[in-house]
Amino acid sequence: MDVRVSNIRKEFDRYPALNDVSLDIRSGELIALLGPSGSGKTTLLRLIAGLEQPTLGKIFFGNEDASHRTVQERHVGFVFQHYALFRHMTVADNIAFGLTVRPRGERPPKTEIRRRVSDLLDMVQLSGLEKRYPNQLSGGQRQRVALARAMAIEPKVLLLDEPFGALDAKVRKELRRWLREFHDRTGHTTVFVTHDQEEALELADRVVVMSQGQIEQVGSSDDVYDRPNSPFVFSFIGDSASLPVTVADNAVRFQDEPIGIAPKANDIQSGSGTLFFRPQDVTLVTDPATPALEGRVATSRRLAGTRIADLDISRQGESHHVEIEIPLDAQAATGTIIRFKPTRWKLFAE
């Protein structure tokens, strides 16, 4: 089922948590809402679920306006950050809950419910644990019970709030892969919230990067990593260096000195801006006559197959540091002068 969020505004005590947010989620897609805390990503998820009501704007499920439907009517599967399993019920009763609370006419018979529960337990690989209580399960097991419980009502849309937030690193990795397979097998439209970019980039078909109640960029992992459309996205996703630069005479200049790159056709041709590049997207310049950025190695560290150098490129008193990747055989003792220029970069006008 398609989900369309249209010009949503949400205020809490007149403070806007979301401001004019629009998003199209295609049927069967796996979408990550990624952003720092306070960016409004969880609020957006709760609005889609119907756990919050928007101040302005609409939410469509397919072609139907679902804005005024209650959370029960929206028929979504919601997995809560801390799972919210019913502690006084067994695993089987937890999973069956969504079926047992149905009105008598729509409720499947007991044997059918039992069969569905056992199928779901199979699916989340927890067969044999139906008689356990939530406090007798590990974090990863609880997480999967919560997922099975949400799936029991055969939701059209699956919503997960920080699904791996409370798990340790190893379980997190396993469950991540498992969730991807699960999604590919079941084909549900799935939206999950995370503050972990690695998780979002690895797992999602499309990543929605959010900041301060607004959507900054929507795109595939490659889009948001290789073609960030704003300074926020460039600095939030992956490692990056940023420098205040000016553009004049068809050259990008750092503190009035040309650094060996020219503005692209659709960049600003004069004035000031900020230059972003990633540590690996640089090349060392050996010819002293070629314009380049120049810095003194402050520290350097070995990182797997490369070496990262922290360069002090301060001139005229203002302190500026950038981190770049240099070849393992390059001179990198503290104090060494290194000249380099970015090979891939992005210039944002001020």
């Binding site: 979504v76 599967g77 502690r87």
Partner: protein, 287 residues
């Protein structure tokens, strides 16, 4: 190090044996003198002239009427406060609204005000000089010096027990479980019945127990509104006072021993609940 050095190594928070025993003795002596001795005295007085006299005084029609009235008042007041208390706790713990702090303070009012005043409030509201009293009387409803007045005073005095027990518990549990139930399609009523209520059942039982003990034992507020009509508006505590003032010690202490026994039963059940309920809370904190 010489092996005997371990004798001098004591946990830093433990006092010397002398200090420990002195403190424990003081505590036990105090408890014995001020709690156990009076309690024992009640039972000894009740059985001073033998069990025959004890049961004979219990069989007195006025005593039986007092016991019936006390039970009746508790049977009305406790369920009312169960519902009111749960409603108040629900509102305070799960919703944000204006005047919430005021409501929280208001719940504590019956605890902070003297029971005599709680009684006098109803005299003012329903007495002969009030607006409500004569109007109700003309419609054949007696409030003051009758059962309704006693029930009202008891409800007022015992209101905080359930609410105060539930508010911190419900606040700590938050609304996550309720949201989960709603998202799975449960109605508001089903959510309350299958999710909220099981989560608070031990706290609720505990509050009801304390509420019941107080409802049966309340003296001050009830004394003001009851009118002390023997066989009609005397609850057990009031009846004890009347018997005592008539120098009918065996009967007075016989009824008093019933109240004391109720207190002991409450205490035992409360302790058992605390063991169980403590474990529930701990389980709740684990996830």
């Amino acid at each position: 190090m010489a092996p005997n050095s371990s004798r001098r190594l004591r946990s830093p928070t433990t006092e010397a044996p002398f200090a420990r025993y002195a403190l424990m003795t003081a505590a036990f002596l105090f408890l014995a003198l001020f709690l156990l001795l009076p309690l024992a005295a009640v039972f000894i007085e009740a059985f001073r002239k033998g069990p025959g006299e004890f049961f004979a005084s219990m069989n007195d029609p006025d005593t039986l009427a007092a016991i019936r009235l006390t039970l009746l008042v508790a049977v009305i007041a406790v369920p009312l406060n169960l519902v009111f208390g749960m409603a108040a706790a629900w509102a305070i713990a799960k919703f944000e609204f204006k005047g919430k702090a005021f409501l929280t303070t208001l719940i504590d009012l019956p605890f902070s005000v003297s029971p005599v005043i709680s009684g006098l409030v109803y005299v003012l509201l329903f007495g002969a000089g009030s607006v409500l009293g004569p109007w109700l009387k003309s419609h054949g409803i007696e409030v003051l010096f009758a059962v309704p007045g006693i029930v009202l005073a008891t409800v007022f005095v015992t209101f905080p027990f359930v609410a105060r027990e539930l508010i911190p518990l419900m606040q700590e549990q938050g609304t996550g479980d309720e949201e989960a139930a709603l998202s799975l399609g449960a109605s508001g009523w089903q959510t309350f019945w299958y999710v909220t209520l099981p989560n608070i059942k031990w706290g609720l039982l505990y509050g009801v127990l304390l509420c019941n003990a107080r409802a049966m034992g309340e003296f001050g507020a009830v004394s003001v509104v009851s009118g002390h009509i023997r066989g009609l508006t005397n609850t057990m505590p009031l009846h004890v006072e009347i018997l005592y003032n008539e120098y009918n010690f065996v009967a007075a202490f016989a009824v008093a021993s019933l109240l004391a026994a109720l207190a002991l039963v409450t205490l035992v059940v409360k302790t058992v609940l605390e063991l169980h309920y403590g474990a529930e809370i701990a389980a709740g904190r684990k996830h």
